[in-house]
Symmetry: C2
Subunit: 700 residues, 2 copies
């Protein structure tokens, strides 16, 4: 995307400029003029002579030069024609403000498809339609009707919704937050969030990327780009439209448990994108990233002039799983010597209500110098006897000198601290009215900092027999069979290094008994017939057979009974399988998300998985660390880890199992869902067994 | 408490009034004068002639009349003496501002005990010490140094922390929220939160009670009062000081799982107290209760002029488990006829960005008239073309006419909507900058409304054998034994209607075999010896014995082996017990909270209870509905409810079991902890069995 043309154009043409107040073609021109756009402005409208003192051209060509950016504000019926005009004239960047297309009817959808086609064939780039424009405060460009230009700053913002963009700008203004660029991407007929992400990544004026999205057009690609960009610039997304995906028509446990929200959460986590819960959450965090250094750890020191405030902040620290910094002996010594009337010199440091600014400054300097402190929250609860303004000046002074650690401020108050709040904000010290919001922001900074310094991702590749799997899958796809079962699931799992229960097909009771004698008792018999998926329902499974006679009886009973229930089924044979040793049952699963690709799942196995919902998700391919992290984030892990002595469960093999599944589903995108359930794990040193599994292919 | 003397005094004496700025005795007088206290003000200080133009009396007696309220601001060393003076003069209400007592050292603690004693013996009532005073905006009384008097309003606020009180007042001012009374209760030497609760309950000017607390002095009593008052006036508490109670020295699973936070949550829930997460949460909700009617249900209608805003509100509704109201056909017909350019006429109703105020007003009236709507969230995202002021006037107009349902407003914006926000607030329509906060507030209102209309609590009393239990407990207490085990636990449970496994004590292998033959196989043998609590560890439990011979062998092996492990133990006998049928294992438990009394627990039984943490708590005594609610709130319930056909589990009997335990622990406050684990529940129609149980008594 040629983002300079959009965000720093030398000339702009308003196509459909209108003298009528209330029309988009008037509002945008008004904004450009009012906020003193320094470039050239052309207006195009064949029906009027001039708009707001600017002479109108009847069409783009008549301008006689090619504007960097064209903004189309005409009614929908002229849009396609005007886009062709743009292409013909050599315009490269177009914003279509016009609404009433895809969001109204099918005709509009077709028009947007046409817009995309024209853009692609002619090399045009198009933002919109159905948007309220874009802004570039750094260049004094306000080509929108979202209100006055915000303060210039380091945050690049894109929004799918025009109203949210308006609201964000207005809220940011009252928080003294500035932006590098703000853009409403609207219906995304051509350029989308993906292009904005890349543009803001390239834009040297943008330090923090934030966006509001309702839908993802190309999730997979977005995520790949986000992963590339996140280490350089934090990406803060507000994803709205949380829908109860409801009972989806998935066949596997994993499929039914992967809600769309969980997909977003785990994918965002993997690529370092910070998911924001609301606009204020997003603005709080964006500001902190824009003005403060990254923290080197999770230890927070609190300075307050009152007990209550410190307690509330400490509560929030505990809820967010951050750490209250343990101050060094040196720090405590100095503080106790010099601040003899402090109420508490252990973190949270509690100074007297009618504190002196000097004491506050001293305390702040001391904790910032303490190597065990990564973050400082400077709190102040002003009452009549508090020298509020002096304390705030002290905070600003110290922050200017000591720039290595993030300093956030929290003035608990409203009207009384308005002036000081503004001073803090303007000095780049993020200020919060409530300690909870400050701590939530610190949490986001710590998470991002940890994510950035995570070890390099290395996905282990196990030696496997890929060809074998390929053959099975190809045959299924050819025959239009979506569910892979039994012997063939076993073959696939074997090929990827899983141990499945020993077993063979038998054609007669004698053969079944022979197999049982060979593999050892107890065994299980399972009917093998194409078309019978749920074997138990037709009496096609018999567990725990311990003698030759029992095996023969079970065989004959199946051959006699099943045809009575399912008359037209051909029984291909009966599988004689070794019953597996007792162990802990877990589930290893995968569900392919339509936007983000394969999501791995781990949880407690058996029938209870969907009820207990104690499961973890993470996008494939998994590294060893990620597989381990998935385990640890479940309660099931605690149960496994609590096993001791003779019953101690081998946890490492589960992580390996997850990685093997991850490799399988990465190498075979045709696999849509997969459950290994139960995956039975025994004591350390024993081999886990994939007792049962389902693989669903994508055949549409 | 004679609250009129504190909140509406005709005369106030400032004891320790000081001409020095920065002194409490100066600041409070300044506040009283500045905010025009209409009553009489006396100043008392033997060392100065006058303060701020008011002549000082040398002592209280010299005033010549008894002030309604005395405010003591002297250094700590004079406090006791002055309190005696107050008592002698006939003063009934005293506020001690003085700090430096209990919060500093033991001497201070003793002084506070003395304060409480003097108060009790002389009939004085004392607020403080270590507080910043109190305010009564309705009476123009500002006896504090918390800042200017807030707006008069309907919210009564008490705070343990002076700084939080200051902050609350200041924040409320910027939100245009008013108060009836505001008081800082400080160290609570005499009057506490309990007295404030009762005072606000009696005070006709207070409609909503809110408070900030760090510690509870008399939790049990507070809760009893809260339960009485909640139906009349909503009580909103911000309880700070969330501590990880850590691994407590509890003996039962229930004890280890009952964190202090869970105790607060479930006790508050039972008595209708609304727990607030932060000051802004509290102020938001308090304002809504103060100015809006209670909702009759959970169905929320949203009106917006933009998609994004409505989506964010809908997300929040889903997260909070509220309902998006389904509009009636009549409403939809009217809206679609009259608002032909609306983008969506189904809830959330989405009007055009450049909406007309008339349309907004029409939509608002329509949804308020719809019987399926209980709540309306009127949203507006202003941009350049939005007639924001007109829309807000329309909202205010409609809200004045239609007062039956709560109307909350959300203007997404900052600076641009400042004027309109103020107009809404002043019209009593709570305004929120973010949809999430509005929805959280609606949730609190709905919860409270549901709580108020809950059926009358009827605790069923089962016929039990109380005398039997009394005897066992008395004997244990006499002997100083805190853990009741085996036979005696069984006797207690039997007496309260539980079925325990059949069994008898045997003194010889033959007797054991006879018992086994009588009660039927399989049986379990358990050693019975005082001092052996964990039987399994000494080989004192043998499960699944199916023959006479096996019983005899097991008996002799125990008699031979246990003395080798535990040489000085006298084996009293061996218990032969019928093994119970298979079923679902759950846990029924109780832990007595030091503040709030017995808390019942339900969860999945067995060893996993502490790891899975799928448990529910509720204070005893339980009604049938509450017992049922406890079950339903767990995932374990889903597992039980999912059981079908032959394996279908009887859920009703679990609720009954909980009620019986509730009765037991209510009738015997000596029981400190109790676990029935596992409580084995079988198919419908079968009787559940209390297989194992622990009862811990309070012997300190």
């Amino acid at each position: 995307m040629k983002w300079q043309l959009f965000f720093n154009p030398r000339s702009i043409a308003i196509v459909g400029a209108s003298p009528k107040k209330g029309k988009a073609g008037n509002a945008i021109l008004t904004s450009l003029l009012r906020d003193n756009f320094p470039g050239k402005i052309f207006t195009v409208n064949p029906n009027v002579k001039e708009v707001l003192g600017i002479t109108c051209f009847p069409d783009l060509k008549s301008i006689g030069q090619v504007p960097d950016l064209a903004i189309v504000t005409t009614p929908p019926e002229h849009v396609i024609d005007l886009l062709h005009q743009c292409a013909d004239t050599g315009v490269k960047a177009v914003v279509i403000i016009t609404s009433g297309l895809k969001e109204i009817d099918e005709h509009g959808t077709h028009m947007e498809e046409a817009i995309a086609r024209i853009a692609k064939t002619s090399g045009l780039e198009v933002i919109g339609p159905n948007c309220i424009g874009l802004m570039s405060p750094l260049n004094r460009m306000n080509a929108s009707f979202a209100g006055r230009l915000p303060l210039p700053g380091k945050i690049g913002y894109f929004s799918q919704s025009g109203s949210v963009m308006s609201a964000v700008i207005d809220m940011a203004r009252s928080m003294d937050i500035g932006f590098s660029r703000v853009v409403n991407i609207g219906n995304k007929a051509h350029l989308s969030e993906l292009d904005m992400l890349k543009a803001f990544a390239d834009d040297p004026e943008t330090k923090v990327i934030a966006g509001y999205l309702e839908t993802f057009d190309d999730g997979d690609n977005f995520i790949r780009q986000a992963e590339r960009i996140s280490p350089e610039k934090p990406i803060l997304l507000l994803k709205a439209g949380v829908t109860a995906a409801g009972a989806r028509a998935a066949l596997s446990h994993t499929g039914r448990l992967t809600g769309s929200e969980r997909a977003f959460d785990c994918v965002f986590e993997r690529v370092g994108v910070i998911r924001c819960a609301s606009i204020n959450h997003q603005l709080d965090i964006a500001r902190a990233f824009a003005y403060q250094p990254l923290p080197q750890g999770a230890n927070v020191a609190i300075i307050a002039n009152a007990g209550g405030a410190g307690i509330m902040a400490t509560d929030a620290i505990e809820r967010e799983n951050l750490q209250l910094a343990v101050l060094s002996d040196a720090t405590i010594d100095t503080l106790s010597t010099k601040l003899d009337n402090a109420l508490n010199i252990n973190n949270p440091i509690e100074l007297q209500g009618n504190i002196f600014a000097d004491d506050y400054e001293l305390a702040l300097r001391q904790v910032l110098d303490d190597p065990g402190v990564h973050h400082v929250l400077a709190m102040l609860t002003p009452h009549e006897l508090t020298p509020c303004s002096d304390v705030v000046q002290a905070i600003i002074r110290v922050a200017k000198e000591k720039t290595g650690k993030p300093i956030l401020a929290c003035l608990l108050g409203g009207k009384r601290v308005e002036k000081e709040v503004k001073q803090l904000n303007q000095a780049g010290i993020p200020q919060f009215s409530f300690p909870e919001n400050a701590i939530t922001t610190i949490k986001a900074m710590v998470n991002y900092s940890f994510w950035r310094s995570r070890p390099k991702r290395v996905v282990k590749l196990f030696p496997v027999n890929r060809r074998k799997v390929e053959k099975i899958i190809e045959r299924h796809l050819k025959d239009g069979i979506r569910e892979v079962v039994d012997i063939e699931v076993k073959t696939i799992l074997d090929a990827y290094g899983f141990v499945t229960p020993k077993g063979m097909m038998a054609a007669s009771p004698e053969q079944a008994a022979n197999i049982a004698n060979q593999i050892g008792y107890p065994v299980v018999l399972k009917v093998w017939a194409p078309g019978i998926i749920h074997k138990t329902e037709v009496g096609g499974v018999k567990l725990g057979l311990t003698t030759e006679e029992a095996v023969k009886d079970a065989f004959d009973l199946m051959m006699y009974r099943i045809p009575q229930v399912k008359p037209h089924t051909k029984i291909a044979g009966i599988l004689v399988e070794k019953m597996c040793d007792k162990g802990q049952e877990v589930i290893l699963g995968m569900n392919r998300d339509p936007r983000f690709g394969p999501l791995m799942m781990f949880g407690m196995g058996g029938k209870l998985v969907e009820i207990l919902k104690d499961v973890a998700f993470y996008p494939a391919p998994l590294t060893a660390e990620e597989a381990k992290e998935m385990l640890i984030s479940t309660r099931t892990y605690n149960i496994l880890a609590a096993s001791k002595g003779e019953e101690s469960i081998d946890i490492e093999v589960i992580a390996e199992g997850l990685q093997r599944v991850s490799q399988l589903v990465t190498e075979f995108p045709q696999i849509k869902e997969l459950d290994i359930n139960p995956f039975v794990v025994g004591r350390e040193g024993t081999t886990p067994v994939a007792v049962d599994a389902t693989i669903i292919l994508d055949i549409c």
